[in-house]
């Protein structure tokens, strides 16, 4: 009886949004996200999505509209990519600081300069500290399921959620996707209960200037100040660890698909060579691990699904690792890839001593094949067997300067 359609990642996202019934959608087209905003405007026009679709003049305005809409207590959605996300940057902080459960799809694309429309994850990764939850998907089925979960997570912890998936590789590639039953989605996703909202009967001032100290309100009650608000945002994201895991478990029980909570694993039980990454490159790594297994190398994959909050449960999974390979499509200039930094920090003092090889791959859409991942692992294994246990960064498929 299941409804399986062969659709792109963008269509999967748009259908998921329709199932979650947001009341306000505002988006500005940008490659490779454009199809989501086009589809949603079609659904609204056709009446299958009963939402207000606000055509805005920029991404900054798109998120501003959602912040205003969400403050009146309704469910909202937007989507963007690359420089569009960067143009939203200021509003990302406003949305998170206001604890608004806005859901956005970030269709991952490289950031200029030089100009690129192709996939990497520099756009969302550079928004790491805005207070948004970030979930990364590895296929189109996971996109539709994660967008639905995102609303539940956002509305339970009162924090915005960015659902990230790779531009073109997922956004424009067709795959069979099982469409969840609308009534079941309603059961899974309770109606949104705002924590506070603008109501003409109860006038409120939102986000006036806060002084460095806690403040007394007009009734003489000592209220929390800026620093307490910020700490509560962190508490919210810490709580999100359990909420993401529970949302994923409950989803698996109802719909029969478990994409993992904060992370997922592939053949890690006896693995001593661990490949990690986020999004489609981690899915690619499962193919590489299978091929390594065929050669007798005990390889497994840990896919990071939630980058913020970052999973704390990885050290036990990596306990037996001799070598950890991080494949990532972003870079923190002047240091190394962000995933490698966070992963290494989470391993500090846990007894996991394996060298971490940070493989920077696919920037600006450069192709990453399974064979490329295999080559990087073989190279790292050769160094390890020669006694080199140093952590290092490798740029994959990138011409080295003379």
């Amino acid at each position: 009886m299941s409804d399986v359609r062969i659709i792109t990642g963008n269509e999967a996202a748009a259908l998921a949004v329709t199932l979650c019934e947001p009341q306000v959608v505002a988006a500005y087209p940008i490659t490779p996200q454009t199809k989501i905003s086009e589809l949603l405007s079609e659904y609204v026009e056709r009446g299958t999505l009963k939402a207000e679709y606000v055509r805005v003049e920029s991404e900054h305005s798109a998120l501003s509209v959602l912040i205003a809409a969400s403050t009146t207590g309704v469910r909202t959605f937007t989507a963007t990519s690359s420089n569009g996300l960067l143009y939203m940057h200021e509003q990302l902080h406003w949305a998170a600081g206001s604890r608004l459960p806005i859901v956005m799809c970030c269709v991952n694309r490289g950031v200029a300069a030089p100009w690129s429309i192709f996939n990497d994850q520099q756009d969302s990764m550079s928004q790491r500290d805005t207070g948004w939850i970030q979930l990364y998907c590895r296929n189109n089925q996971e996109i539709i399921d994660t967008v639905i979960q995102a609303y539940r997570i956002a509305e339970e912890v009162y924090a915005p959620v960015m659902v990230c998936y790779d531009g073109f590789i997922l956004s424009h590639t067709m795959m069979p996707v099982e469409i969840p039953d609308a009534a079941e989605v309603q059961n899974y996703l309770p109606p949104y209960r705002p924590h506070t909202f603008l109501d003409p009967e109860r006038p409120r001032t939102i986000n006036p200037v806060f002084f460095p100290w806690r403040r007394q309100n007009a009734d003489g009650v000592l209220c929390d100040g800026y620093m307490e608000m910020r700490r509560k945002l962190q508490k919210g994201l810490e709580k999100a660890r359990d909420v993401i895991a529970a949302a994923s478990r409950d989803y698996a029980e109802r719909f029969g698909r478990d994409h993992g909570g904060l992370f997922w694993t592939h053949r890690v039980e006896d693995a001593d060579i661990i490949l990690t990454g986020m999004g489609s490159i981690a899915a690619e790594a499962t193919l590489a691990a299978d091929l390594l297994r065929d050669e007798g190398v005990r390889a497994g994959v840990v896919g990071i699904r939630s980058y913020r909050p970052f999973p704390l449960e990885l050290p036990p999974v990596l306990r037996n690792a001799r070598l950890i390979m991080v494949f990532e499509k972003c870079f923190s200039y002047g240091y190394e890839g962000g995933v490698a930094s966070d992963l290494k920090a989470s391993l500090y003092g846990t007894g996991v001593e394996a060298p971490v090889i940070d493989v920077i791959a696919g920037l600006g859409g450069r192709d990453v094949k399974t064979a490329d991942l295999l080559g990087a692992v073989r190279e790292a294994l050769k160094s390890l067997e020669a006694g080199d246990r140093a952590c290092r960064t490798v740029w994959l498929n990138c011409r080295e300067e003379e």
Binding site: H195, T196, Q216, A218, C223, M229
Partner: protein
């Protein structure tokens, strides 16, 4: 869910003083001389340019004119605009105002 914390974001009630008293930002305060102030001199509602120009809305449209020093930021615009120069900016004593 546990009891909802309605103080997780910067939501305030629109009320005088909700954002905290702002009068202590200033070094200078306006002092009105009723012997020069037009409404006081004429004994009827008139002039009120200080009320009109005050960016903080802390000047009253009354006779005599009064200024709420809890929220006056001491910018001195009222003193600058007052046609008969009835308003003088004087230095506040630290810790007493």
């Amino acid at each position: 869910m546990n009891k909802q914390d309605d103080n997780i974001s910067g939501v305030c009630t629109p009320a005088v003083g909700e954002a905290g008293k702002t009068g202590d930002w200033t070094e200078m305060k306006p002092v009105i001389d009723p012997a020069k102030c037009t409404p006081s001199v004429k004994g009827k509602p008139s002039c009120f340019l200080c009320w009109l120009y005050c960016p903080e809305g802390v000047v009253s449209m009354t006779i005599p004119v009064s200024i709420d020093l809890d929220y006056c930021k001491g910018c001195g615009i009222c003193a600058e605009e007052c046609p008969p120069n009835a308003i003088t900016m004087v230095r506040k004593e630290r810790g007493r105002e």
